[in-house]
Each structure stands twice: as structure tokens, then as C-alpha cells.
């Protein structure tokens, strides 16, 4: 029998100073999506923090139970919003996952899949593009339709997962890399655009729309050539070394001082980009930490930036009833709630309706919908109930992952609601004919 693993290794671990802030008051419980699903302490933020503490103190094994409950966490950080003691839970759970990555042996299939996605695929834009082209052949050739109609996906238990796979774009966001897009009218700002990784092959149109909206509001937009994945997915999964490498590459790719801001349209990426100092802490030997501080200080979510800048482009009326789903990493990770709502309301003709529980996770949570499909779909069902209650024609949100999940939700639950990013809505208002 192998020796039991107790305790954490020295680096990238949940630190006492961070977890001791938790005073186990329990105010987080009802804000935690997984606690609301299963109602047990082990799947609540308070319970997970206690488990980290117990492992750190050698009272609990870093074994199957610990891994299961830490894996169940969406890392949505709703608990951070609820926490009066200022516990930085996201930082804790990511550190716990780094410990799992280092000390726990996952089943073979999981190891192979994780290694492929986090180490072999995500860090390399060219490989993502190649994989996307292969997937596009499957989606466009009739193979996908065949797979669906023969029911083979159902037999394999993959039919819901297949719905969650993004549709690959016809035209990738690649020729735009390295380009500069001029401001319409007088230049009010010069910004660098963060294009994402998977987004370049699945959300190319969203990226283009973001650039158009920025341009229309007087921003010159540069898309630095050598940028890579922000590192959010590996960081959330505990693959810190890869996340750190990616962060360093991005620090090199963005000439920070030349821009007023670094813009992302993905709340998940933005949250990580703003926290590069967590990946590159001050005790490191190089000058990375300082550079990370300066970099992160410039990062803005597209909605945050446009709201700060003030909309200048004339907006034409859109006669549509919309509701807004807070992206977790925008509302909880970056504490931005009002900016996207103000932008939506700024469009004439829009009827804006709040949904209940707008800031509860939709279940997307990075790769959660693939790794924890059942829980993800349960959360999605709750979300779609709230969304359809509003009778909104469109659900607007601020993160590509949420868009994919909500689109699947709209299909699965037959609500017929369109799902859009805030900037896509703005783009329509700017481009809409009178």
C-alpha cells in the first residue's frame, strides 16, 4: 500500500495567513452553487477551506475525498463576494489544486487528458488552430449530424457534452494578430487587445466586434503578435508551471508603457491577467513581479473600459428585451457589476430586466462543464429557469465560456433565447440600420 500523503509541499500551497482569515461564520454557504446543489459542508467554501487546513496540519490525507471536493468547486468565487472577512478563496483553491497536481496521482485517462490539454495544447496557438480545423471538419462534414441522428452520442453518454462543444469559426482570428486598428474620429485612447487562445478559433467574431466597438468609441486598438493563452485554465486546474510560463510570455508580448489599457472581452481571462502577481510573487528572483504589477494595473475588461471611457459612438435603437447574467469572474473575480449593466441600458429601445440570482454561476466555469458535466447541467437548468422567467429575448453576458454554456442551455431547455456578449449588443446598436 502506498504511503498516505499528508501535508503540503513548500511552494504554491494554501497559506496559513490566507486560510486563517476564514472565521467559519458560514455566510458563504448559500452563495456557493455546489452547496446549493448538494447541501453538504464538504462542498461549501467553508468546508473546503477547513479541508485545506486539515491537510496542511496533517489531520487529513491529501487523498480521494479531498481531491473530489476540491475538484467539485467551480472556482466561481461567489463566496468571495459573500465573505465579510476578505478570504481570497480563489487563490486558496488554486493553490490546493497545485498541491493536488503535485502530490496526487489521478487515474490514467485523466492524467493523459490533462497533460494534453494543459501542457501540449493550450500554450501553443498553432496547435489550437490545427485541432480546431480538425474539429471543424467533423462539425461541417455531416459527421456531427450523423453522430447525433444515429444516437451514438447518446449511447456513449456524450450528447449533452457534444452540445457544449463550441462551433468552430469559419474564419479564425489570425490575420488580425499583429495589426493596428485606427480609432474612428479623434483618438481618445490607445489600447492593446488580448485575443485569448481558444477564443481565436471559436469567438473570432466576438473579438472583431470588440475591436469595432473600441474603434467606434475613439480607441486605437493594437493586437500584439506574440501573445498566448492568459493561463487561466491551467492556473485554475493547478498547473502552475504552465500558467507561470504563459504569464511570462504575455509580459514579454505586451509593451506595457505604450498603451492606456490592455483590453479583454473574457472575464475569466481578465481575472487572471489582473492577478499575474499571484503567479509571479514578489519573492521570485527576477523582475517579473514588478512587471506583472504594471501589466495587471493596465488590464481592463472591455465593459469596464468602455464604461470608464464613456460611450461616444451614436447608438441606434434596438427593440429587444434583454437580461444580464453576471459572469463570475467579472462580478466576483473583478467586482464589476454595474459597468456592463450601464452599457446595456445606454442602448436606446432596450428593455432591461434583471433575472433572479443573476450572479450565480451558470455552470460553465472553464472546463467544469466537461469534467463535472452532471453538476454543470444541473446548475445550467437552474440558470435557465431564472433566465426564462424574465421573458427576455436575449441573455447578455460578459465571458465566452458563459456564452457557450448559456447557448447550450437555450437549446437544451428550448427557451429560444439568443445569447450575446455585451460588446456584441453594442456592436449591433452601432451597426444597426435606422
Amino acid at each position: 500500500m502506498p504511503a498516505k500523503t499528508v501535508g503540503f509541499t513548500a511552494i504554491d500551497k494554501p497559506e496559513y495567513a490566507d486560510y486563517a482569515r476564514c472565521v467559519h461564520c458560514g455566510l458563504c454557504l448559500n452563495h456557493c452553487p455546489t452547496y446549493r446543489l448538494w447541501h453538504q459542508e464538504a462542498d461549501s467554501p467553508r468546508g473546503r477551506i477547513r479541508q485545506m487546513e486539515l491537510v496542511d496540519q496533517g489531520q487529513m490525507e491529501l487523498g480521494d475525498a479531498f481531491v473530489t471536493h476540491i475538484d467539485h468547486c467551480l472556482d466561481c468565487r461567489a463566496c468571495e463576494t459573500a465573505c465579510p472577512s476578505g478570504v481570497e478563496y480563489g487563490r486558496l483553491v488554486e493553490a490546493a489544486r497545485a498541491q493536488i497536481e503535485r502530490q496526487y496521482k489521478r487515474p490514467l485517462f485523466s492524467r493523459i487528458a490533462r497533460d494534453f490539454v494543459y501542457r501540449k495544447l493550450l500554450p501553443y496557438p498553432a496547435r489550437i488552430a490545427a485541432a480546431a480545423r480538425a474539429l471543424r471538419i467533423y462539425q461541417r462534414s455531416g459527421l456531427a449530424a450523423a453522430a447525433r441522428s444515429t444516437g451514438i452520442l447518446k449511447v456513449l453518454g456524450l450528447s449533452d457534452r457534444e452540445r457544449l462543444i463550441p462551433r468552430i469559426d469559419s474564419r479564425f482570428f489570425s490575420s488580425e494578430m499583429g495589426q493596428t486598428f485606427r480609432a474612428v474620429g479623434q483618438r481618445r485612447a490607445r489600447v492593446a487587445f488580448f485575443a485569448g487562445c481558444v477564443a481565436r478559433v471559436t469567438f473570432a467574431e466576438l473579438n472583431r466586434a470588440t475591436i469595432r466597438v473600441l474603434q467606434a468609441n475613439g480607441s486605437e486598438v493594437v493586437v500584439p503578435q506574440n501573445q498566448v493563452c492568459c493561463g487561466a485554465l491551467p492556473a485554475h486546474a493547478g498547473v502552475r508551471d504552465v500558467a507561470r510560463d504563459l504569464a511570462r510570455k504575455n509580459l514579454a508580448a505586451f509593451p506595457i508603457d505604450g498603451f492606456d489599457a490592455i483590453i479583454t472581452n473574457a472575464a475569466g481571462c481578465g481575472s487572471t491577467l489582473k492577478e499575474y502577481t499571484h503567479l509571479l510573487p514578489a519573492n521570485g528572483s527576477s523582475g517579473d513581479h514588478d512587471r506583472a504589477m504594471r501589466f495587471s494595473a493596465k488590464v481592463r475588461d472591455a465593459t469596464e473600459f468602455l464604461d470608464e471611457l464613456g460611450l461616444m459612438a451614436p447608438l441606434k435603437p434596438l427593440l429587444v428585451r434583454v437580461t444580464y447574467q453576471d459572469s463570475c469572474h467579472l462580478a466576483h473575480g473583478q467586482k464589476i457589476r454595474e459597468a456592463p449593466r450601464r452599457l446595456i441600458r445606454a442602448i436606446p429601445g432596450i428593455e432591461f430586466v434583471e433575472m433572479q440570482q443573476a450572479d450565480q454561476c451558470c455552470g460553465s466555469a472553464g472546463v467544469y462543464n466537461v469534467t463535472e458535466t452532471k453538476a454543470s447541467l444541473d446548475l445550467l437548468a437552474l440558470k435557465m429557469d431564472c433566465a426564462s422567467e424574465t421573458h427576455a429575448q436575449a441573455i447578455v453576458t460578459a465571458n465566452p465560456g458563459c456564452i457557450l454554456q448559456l447557448r447550450a442551455g437555450s437549446q437544451i431547455h428550448g427557451t429560444g433565447q439568443e445569447v450575446l456578449h455585451v460588446v456584441e449588443l453594442l456592436d449591433r446598436a452601432i451597426a444597426a440600420p435606422r
Binding site: A20, R21, V23, H24, C25, G26, L27, C28, L29, N30, H31, H39, Q40, E41, A42, G47, R50, Q51, L54, Q59, M60, E61, A65, F66, A82, C83, P84, S85, G86, Q356
Partner: protein, 479 residues
């Protein structure tokens, strides 16, 4: 734990309705308090029938049963002090009925306090008891602890909002007390049940009153350079016959901790602030607000601010309701005390708290339901230091002792639980306690329900103070 009992429990509730692995039990040995105790298993009933059967099994195996809502309690009420089965009501969380016309709701015990208010908000109604943990705590827990909150001042505590209960008694009998009517005949068994801290039975269904949301609400922040001035303000407001819906005081040190969290514009250099809320009809509220402002200014409030909109109002309340946690940012652990004093004794009590703080070298913040004399000193300590923890408990005891000496009580709303059982002799005579024990035994004869709570297990505290038997002013005439 008895393997047969465990097997029967799993048969009853399913494998996912029972937790018995050590790594799971470690997560039920705490609640919101500083106490700990480990259960032998945790079960999740889904219906009243499950609970009835649960009692049958527990009684047959003579195993303690302890109820638990969200585990936000501050006196260890939801902890299995003598082991046994923790019954989590988290999955019995449905709102069963809402009767709009009669302003009633029937809920399962696991419904979260603020979720009920949210569910009826569109009808212009709310559930009035508002403990600071209302976004997480359950109504079942509120019933067990007879929870209060800032708005207790005008609206009363939980018991004033519970009309009827369905519960399973220690004997295993299913009972229904009370009725949807305001006054039901016979003994007020509902009243005696509310606040029994899980020692009489486990509640399975609760009929509560829903209160109309007031037409207008105004929240005012008054800033003081002296605690005396703030206290006198409170006294004078009451003397003028104004009943604010809430009247809260925070001391300067606590204000600074809170401001760091909420950024609501609390003054960093104040000695005390009052957070006063008036609600009711629009005209009435405007009038009351004028009076309150006038009294504040008269008693040397340095500044009086009225929240301009709902957002500002929420921010002020966020500061107050998260005060404990906000203070918790400063030290690894804190111990929230809960004492009651006559309002007039506030300045003296705060001075005493200051002395205790200096004596033990522990920082103590003060949050106070000023309107009804309910004091919450928050004692900071480092739980890694055994001595600091002991000192924190001693400091708390000294403060409570003082509260009792000035005519107050050992707890206002957090309950006795396993935290203050030893302090009970400070305010109750042996006769009182015996009577309570007799009532306890009627509901819970075998003593299997939440054992080790409320009643002092030893008379250790008697050394400090034991309340003497009341004496008649003149001796009774002998026959």
C-alpha cells in the same frame, strides 16, 4: 458508531443521505462559534416522515440527535457535544405555501431566512427577523435559537413571528402546536418551543407571519466623538416615544475595520456611530426622521447623514451586518460575545470592556443593538496560542459577569448552547433551573436531544456569582 444503526440510517435515507467517514465528520465539528465537537454521523432527511423514522432509530439505539441548519450559530447549538447524529435540515428547504391574503408562509426548517423574504418581496412582504447571518442561516435555526437581529427593536424576535410548528418530540411523537390564528387556546406550546435550542424536539415545518414592507424607510448615520453622547441620544429618542425600527451602535475601532471592508464612508476618526432606521408611512417617517435628527444634533452628534437611496442604505447595513467578519480580517480568530445590559449602563459597560481588553492584552471591538441593550463585544485572538484562547474566554466571562451585575443577562440572541451553560447560574436560581429541567424532561425524557446544552454540567461558575433565591419582603406568617 453502532454499525446496525448506521446500516438502518442508510436504508432510510440512502447512501447520499448519511455521512460517516472521518473526513466528512471533521467538517461538522464546527459552526459559527469558537466551540467544537465531533458527531458520529450526519444525516440529511428530506421529509417529516424521514425525521419521525430517524427518531425511532435514535431512540432504539439510545443515540443523541442534534439538529443543524446552516451551522452559522454562535453558541455551539448545532454541535454534537456528546457525539451522536447531526440532523442537517439543509435539504428540507422548500417553501411549502405562501398565503398572501393572510400574510402567512409555511416553510421547511432548511429554508434560508433571506430566501423567504426574497421569495415574497414582489408581494410587498417580508419575514421580519433579520439576524446578521440572514443570507445563510435557516428559519429552523432561527426558531431553535429564537434569533433576533437589528430590527428586533420594532418587530420583535423570531418567536413573535412564528404562529405554528410541526415537530417531532424527544419521545418520537409528531406534534403540531399553534395555529395560523394569532392566539390559539391552551398553553402556548409554540412559545415554549421557540428558543429551546433543539432540546425539546426537531422542527419539521414552520408557519410564520409575513410582514408588509414599510411604505418608506429612512436610514440615518450619526457620528459622535463620545460614547456618552451617543448613548444619551438613544435614551432621548426612546423617551420621546419614537420607536426606530433599528438603532445600532458601533465603536470607533470597529468602524475602522468595517470601513475597510465596505467603503460606505464610515468616519475613520469617530468614537462611536449610531445607525438609526425609521420606517412606516411616508409622512410618519419624515416626521420621525426630523425628530431623530434633532435629538442627534442636540446630543452633540458631529455629523448626521441620511442615506439618499437604497444603495446607500444597503451599504450602511452591509457594514453593520458584516461587522463580525470584517473585524475577523484583523486577527486569525475572534470570539463574539452576546450580553444584555440596561441601555443606561452602556458607557460604564464599554469602560469595563476597555479595562478587560487592556488586562488581557486582547483587542475588543464593540457592536451594540443600542435600542434594546444587546451588546456584542468581539474579542480578537490567535487560535494557535492556547493561552490567548483561554484569555479570550476569561475576558468574555468577565464582561458577561459585569453585564449581569448591572442588571442584564448572559445572552440576548445567540443562545446558551454549549458556550454559556456554565454561566446560567449567574441569572437563574436553582429553583429556576430545576423548573426548566422539568419542562425539558416532559419533551425530552430520555435526554437524547442535543444533550449537554443549556443546563450547567457543573457549578464551576458559582464561584463568581450565584443568584440568590428571591426573598419575600416580609416573612410569610406562620400558620
Amino acid at each position: 458508531m453502532n454499525p446496525r444503526l448506521l446500516r438502518d440510517l442508510k436504508k432510510l435515507l440512502g447512501a447520499d443521505g448519511v455521512l460517516s467517514e472521518p473526513e466528512d465528520l471533521l467538517l461538522y465539528e464546527y459552526d459559527g462559534s469558537v466551540e467544537t465537537a465531533r458527531p458520529d454521523c450526519v444525516v440529511f432527511p428530506r421529509s417529516t416522515a424521514d425525521v419521525v423514522e430517524l427518531f425511532r432509530l435514535a431512540n432504539r439505539h439510545k443515540t443523541p440527535l442534534v439538529g443543524r441548519g446552516a451551522g452559522t450559530g454562535l453558541s455551539g447549538g448545532a454541535l454534537a457535544r456528546q457525539g451522536g447524529i447531526i440532523t442537517s435540515f439543509a435539504r428540507m428547504n422548500r417553501i411549502l405555501a405562501i398565503d398572501i391574503e393572510n400574510q402567512r408562509a409555511v416553510v421547511q426548517p432548511g429554508v434560508v431566512n433571506s430566501d423567504l423574504s426574497a421569495a415574497v418581496a414582489h408581494l410587498g412582504l417580508h419575514f421580519a427577523p433579520d439576524p446578521s447571518s440572514q443570507k445563510a442561516c435557516t428559519i429552523g435555526g432561527n426558531v431553535s435559537e429564537n434569533s433576533g437581529g437589528p430590527h428586533t427593536l420594532a418587530y420583535g424576535v423570531t418567536t413573535n413571528h412564528v404562529l405554528a410548528l410541526e415537530a417531532v418530540l424527544g419521545t418520537g411523537e409528531l406534534v403540531r402546536f399553534g395555529s395560523a390564528a394569532l392566539d390559539s387556546p391552551g398553553y402556548d406550546l409554540t412559545g415554549i418551543f421557540v428558543g429551546s435550542e433543539g432540546t425539546f424536539g426537531l422542527v419539521t415545518e414552520i408557519t410564520v407571519k409575513l410582514i408588509r414592507l414599510p411604505e418608506a424607510v429612512k436610514t440615518l448615520l450619526a457620528i459622535y466623538n463620545s460614547v456618552n453622547d451617543a448613548t444619551e441620544t438613544v435614551a432621548e429618542i426612546t423617551a420621546r416615544g419614537i420607536t426606530p425600527s433599528a438603532c445600532e451602535m458601533l465603536d470607533g475601532w470597529t468602524i475602522r475595520a468595517v470601513e475597510e471592508y465596505v467603503h460606505a464612508g464610515f468616519p475613520l476618526d469617530a468614537t462611536a456611530i449610531l445607525l438609526i432606521e425609521v420606517d412606516g408611512l411616508l409622512e410618519e417617517v419624515e416626521d420621525a426622521l426630523l425628530h431623530v435628527k434633532e435629538v442627534c444634533t442636540m446630543h452633540r452628534a458631529r455629523e448626521v447623514r441620511v442615506a439618499r437611496d437604497e444603495r446607500e442604505r444597503e451599504l450602511l447595513w452591509k457594514g453593520r451586518k458584516n461587522a463580525f467578519g470584517a473585524v475577523g480580517r484583523i486577527a486569525p480568530s475572534y470570539y463574539t460575545q452576546d450580553g444584555v445590559i440596561p441601555r443606561s449602563k452602556l458607557p460604564a459597560t464599554l469602560r469595563r470592556v476597555g479595562e478587560v481588553s487592556r488586562k488581557y492584552g486582547l483587542q475588543i471591538g464593540n457592536v451594540f443593538h443600542a435600542g434594546d441593550g444587546n451588546l456584542h463585544p468581539i474579542i480578537l485572538f490567535d487560535e494557535r496560542d492556547e493561552r490567548q484562547f483561554r484569555d479570550a474566554v476569561r475576558a468574555a466571562d468577565e464582561i458577561i459577569d459585569f453585564c449581569v451585575h448591572v442588571g442584564g443577562a448572559i445572552t440576548g440572541e445567540h443562545g446558551v448552547g454549549m458556550e454559556k451553560d456554565r454561566l446560567m447560574p449567574l441569572i437563574f436560581t436553582e429553583t429556576d433551573l430545576d423548573l426548566m429541567k422539568q419542562v425539558h424532561d416532559v419533551f425530552n425524557p430520555a435526554g437524547l436531544l442535543n444533550p449537554g446544552k443549556i443546563f450547567p454540567t457543573s457549578k464551576g461558575c458559582g464561584e463568581i456569582y450565584v443568584r440568590p433565591q428571591p426573598q419575600l419582603s416580609s416573612p410569610p406568617a406562620r400558620a
